[in-house]
């Protein structure tokens, strides 16, 4: 964890930003879901997004690797800067973006293929030229599932338990060596033991990757993350519906022990949401 509390809420000190969001607003078919998000996600750390349902934290997460492109009528204003490049510039290929910024979803979604093929698939379509067996083993080891799967690599990914499937999906994401891994509530469908395994693994993974995780579980945010962004919903200015916004973004310790916003204090202490 970072010990130095940042002086400004939105700019962590001492680390290079990996992803920068500048005045990002996302709307679905004309109605704004999240607005005015500024954020600098530090490289090589774990950043958690917390907040009540419908606050747009998953929406913002999906915006980071252009998964929102798949949702009809979803549009983004503002800039998402990665590697000095605005991800939403006209000449950016979203497929290339997703090769650099991988994603793990809420529900484990292994492909209906063998465990080996689940890992090899991504590598193959990304033009991997190395030793496939070695890559599969390395990825499964990093995702802490090698011991459980090494004897049944030819079996279907569906034959695994939910927690194992999720780690397989993480291994699948790691196999293409992304720079950033986005995780959308990766443990919400899992039991506490599987959750613990994934959290331990995340601590290992952050040595090589930047991780952004959305979680409903505040203890999880405390356990795994270095930085935490608290999203909240506020009624729209015209009183018609609600809109999400980034209430506060700071070191996890600050968010949970000395937040600057009253709403954050209320949320993390369990007074609402």
């Amino acid at each position: 964890m970072t010990n130095s509390a940042p002086t400004m809420a939105h700019t962590p000190q001492g680390t290079l930003p990996c992803l920068e969001l500048e005045n990002v607003s996302i709307s679905y078919g004309g109605s704004v879901a999240v607005s005015g998000v500024y954020m600098q996600i530090p490289r090589g750390q774990i950043t958690a997004f917390i907040g009540p349902s419908g606050c747009g934290k998953s929406t913002v997460l999906r915006a980071l690797n252009r998964m929102n492109d798949l949702i009809e009528g979803c549009s983004l204003r503002g800039r998402v800067i990665f590697d000095g490049q605005d991800l939403y510039a006209r000449d950016v290929d979203p497929v290339e973006v997703r090769r650099r910024i991988g994603m793990v979803f809420q529900k484990p979604n292994p492909f209906p293929k063998s465990i080996y093929e689940n890992i090899a698939f991504g590598a193959r379509i990304n033009g991997y030229r190395g030793d496939m067996d070695e890559l599969v083993e390395r990825s499964l080891r990093k995702a802490a599932i090698w011991d459980e799967t090494k004897d049944k690599l030819k079996e279907s990914g569906y034959a695994l338990s939910g927690g194992q499937q999720q780690r397989l999906c993480i291994a699948r994401a790691i196999a293409i060596e992304p720079e950033v891994i986005l995780m959308d509530e990766p443990c919400s469908a899992l039991d506490p033991i599987s959750t613990l395994k994934i959290e331990e693994m995340m601590h290992e993974l952050k040595k090589s990757y930047t991780i952004v995780i959305v979680t409903h579980n505040m203890q999880q945010a405390v356990r795994v993350s270095d930085m935490t962004g608290f999203f909240n919903v506020t009624p729209k200015a015209d009183g018609d519906g609600k809109v999400g916004c980034l209430e506060e973004f700071a070191a996890t310790e600050t968010i949970f022990n000395a937040p600057s916003q009253q709403a954050t204090q209320d949320y993390v202490s369990g007074r609402f949401g």
Binding site: V95, M103, F105, K107, P112
Partner: protein, 306 residues
Amino acid sequence: MSYGSSTATTDLANEVFARNSLRFQASLPRNRWNALYTTLAATFSAVVVLPLFLVLVYVLFKGGSLLSFQLLTQLPPAPGLDGGGIGNAILGTIVVTLIASLIAIPVGVGGGIYLAEYSQSGPFAQFVRFGTNVLSGVPSIICGVFVYGLIVSTRVFFDQSYSAAAGGIALAVLMLPTVIKTTDEALKLVPNELRWGAIGIGASKFVTVLKVTLPSAFTPIATGVVLGIARAAGETAPLIFTALFSPFWPDGVFNPIATMSVLIFNFAIMPYEAQISLAWAASFVLVVMILGANLFARWLGRFTQA
């Protein structure tokens, strides 16, 4: 909650509701109605499958006795003669259905992929879906007339009029809506998470469809295709003006060809005993072939990927 209050609740319930014994009482109105409706539903279900059994039994009774190796391998006899078989018609049905499949499967599966994966349900996709539904309702004889006007009367294929190819195209028009619809529906059943999984690790749309979505939907698509083939194989009307008929063995795809359904149509109204019994035998073989295709589709449906 204490014992006292729960007993009070029970007393109150006994006052406002009639409490019956816990034993089953057949004489209660709700149980009588239940029995009545169950019987009614069972009767109607039996009526639904009755035609199938009657057709099978009747066709077997009339045509089954002629079933022999000779029936499946020989040409039909000349009018007035006995013996012979329907070998050319069996082969012809297979050829025409094959031509139809070669056209309808790529076009239909491709169209279904477009509708489910690429179209985003815009006006054009809605129009195609609506068109598909209308096409599936078009009477099969209209398909025959259409292909007759388009291909047979214009003699586009090497100056040939009636041909196996024309028959195959007519059947392809009939198969197309089934294939498009089942592909569309099958792909829609593939969970979105699976697509996201592939796209989330940098797969392009094309690779996602080809390597992840299509394989997951293979079983329902294959089932739909087999059912479409089975339906087309039994059609008569579109073949009468397109493939016509031939008493000889098939002679290439650009010549008239014998098919079982047209053979039945032609022979059943002939004044010769041998031809009429051949028509019955052909009916039996055709029904068995289509039943077999349906059973094959069911069997395919049992396979689930991985």
